[in-house]
C-alpha cells in the first residue's frame, strides 16, 4: 500500500505462514509480507550481508563460494527492493519471524515464458529469492528455520494466479541452488541459458498447481 502523503511504501501483511524449526522439528508461525520496507533492508545490511560477504571471501572464485551457499552475496536487495516499490512490474515479499527477516523474494511480472507449451505467454519471473544466512545448512552447522524457499515460491505462484498468469513461473538458478530446485520442485529444467550462464527452470500451469497442492 502506498502512503499518498509521504509517497513511501508501507508493506502489507499477507498471511501467517509456518516454518519448521530445524533443531526441534516444531512448526513456528511467521509473517509473510508483500513489499519490503526499511526493516528488511536494515536486516539485510546488518545481519545478512556481512555473513554472506565474509563466507564468499573465503573462496577464490564465485563458483566455489557455492560450497557454502554464498553465491548471492552480491545481490543488491536494498537497491532493487526500493525500485520494486515504485515499479509496476516488480513485486517483493518478505518472511519475518523472531523479529528478523527470514527470507526475501523479488518478482518480475513483465516476462514471457519459454517452455514449448506456453512460449510467449506472460509469466512471473523470479529475479531473486533467498533465505537468511542462518537458515542455510551449507553455511551454518545449526540452521534455524526450514521451509522459507518453498513458501516464497508458493507465494510467487499464487501471485501468478492472482494476476491471471495461471501459475506460470520462470527462474534462473544460481549453480548452488540447482539441486534444490530439482529436488524441491517439479519445474521443468530447460537447460543452460547461455545469455545468463545459469540453468533456467520454468513451471507450467499444471506444474504450478501441483506444486501448490503438494507444498
Amino acid at each position: 500500500m502506498r502512503d499518498s502523503v509521504a509517497g513511501s511504501w508501507t508493506k502489507e501483511f499477507v498471511a501467517t505462514v509456518l516454518l519448521s524449526e530445524r533443531s526441534t522439528g516444531n512448526v513456528v508461525e511467521a509473517q509473510l509480507f508483500r513489499g519490503l520496507d526499511q526493516k528488511n533492508f536494515d536486516d539485510y545490511e546488518r545481519l545478512w550481508r556481512p555473513t554472506l560477504v565474509q563466507a564468499k571471501a573465503s573462496f577464490s572464485t564465485w563458483l566455489e563460494s557455492g560450497k557454502v551457499n554464498a553465491q548471492d552475496a552480491h545481490w543488491a536487495w536494498t537497491e532493487k527492493g526500493r525500485k520494486a516499490n515504485a515499479d509496476m512490474s516488480l513485486e517483493s515479499f518478505a518472511i519475518e519471524c523472531d523479529g528478523k527477516t527470514q527470507g526475501m523474494m523479488l518478482l518480475n511480472l513483465s516476462e514471457f515464458a519459454r517452455h514449448k507449451d506456453q512460449r510467449g505467454l506472460d509469466m512471473v519471473y523470479v529475479e531473486m529469492l533467498a533465505s537468511a544466512p542462518w537458515n542455510r545448512s551449507q553455511l551454518t552447522p545449526t540452521p534455524i528455520y526450514g521451509g522459507v524457499g518453498q513458501i516464497l515460491l508458493g507465494t510467487a505462484i499464487s501471485l501468478s494466479i492472482e494476476s491471471e498468469l495461471k501459475g506460470r513461473l520462470g527462474l534462473h538458478s544460481l549453480p548452488q541452488s540447482v539441486s534444490w530446485y530439482e529436488q524441491k520442485t517439479n519445474f521443468t529444467n530447460l537447460g543452460m541459458d547461455p545469455e545468463k550462464d545459469m540453468i533456467y527452470f520454468e513451471a507450467t500451469e499444471e506444474q504450478a498447481k501441483e506444486f501448490l497442492e503438494n507444498g
Partner: protein, 69 residues
C-alpha cells in the same frame, strides 16, 4: 491490495483489439490492461534512462529498434 476503479472509454477498434488480445492471452480485459501498463512503464523507464529496446527476428537475427513516440 487496494484497488481503485476507473471508467475506460474506447473506440470500437480499440475494444476489438482489447477483446482479441485478452482472448488470445487467456486473461480478462482488466488483467490485460494491467500487464500492458507494466510493460509500458518498463519500456518507458529503459528509454528514459538512455537504453535502447530492440525486437529480434530469431531466424535472421535481424534487430529492429523499438521507438516509442
Amino acid at each position: 491490495m487496494d484497488r481503485k476503479q476507473m471508467t475506460l472509454v474506447l473506440s470500437d477498434k480499440e475494444m476489438l483489439v482489447l477483446d482479441q488480445l485478452a482472448e488470445s492471452r487467456g486473461m480478462t480485459k482488466t488483467a490485460l490492461v494491467r500487464q500492458a501498463l507494466r510493460l509500458y512503464q518498463s519500456v518507458t523507464e529503459r528509454l528514459d534512462s538512455g537504453d535502447k529496446v530492440f525486437v529480434e527476428r530469431p531466424s535472421t537475427k535481424e534487430k529492429t529498434e523499438l521507438m516509442v513516440l
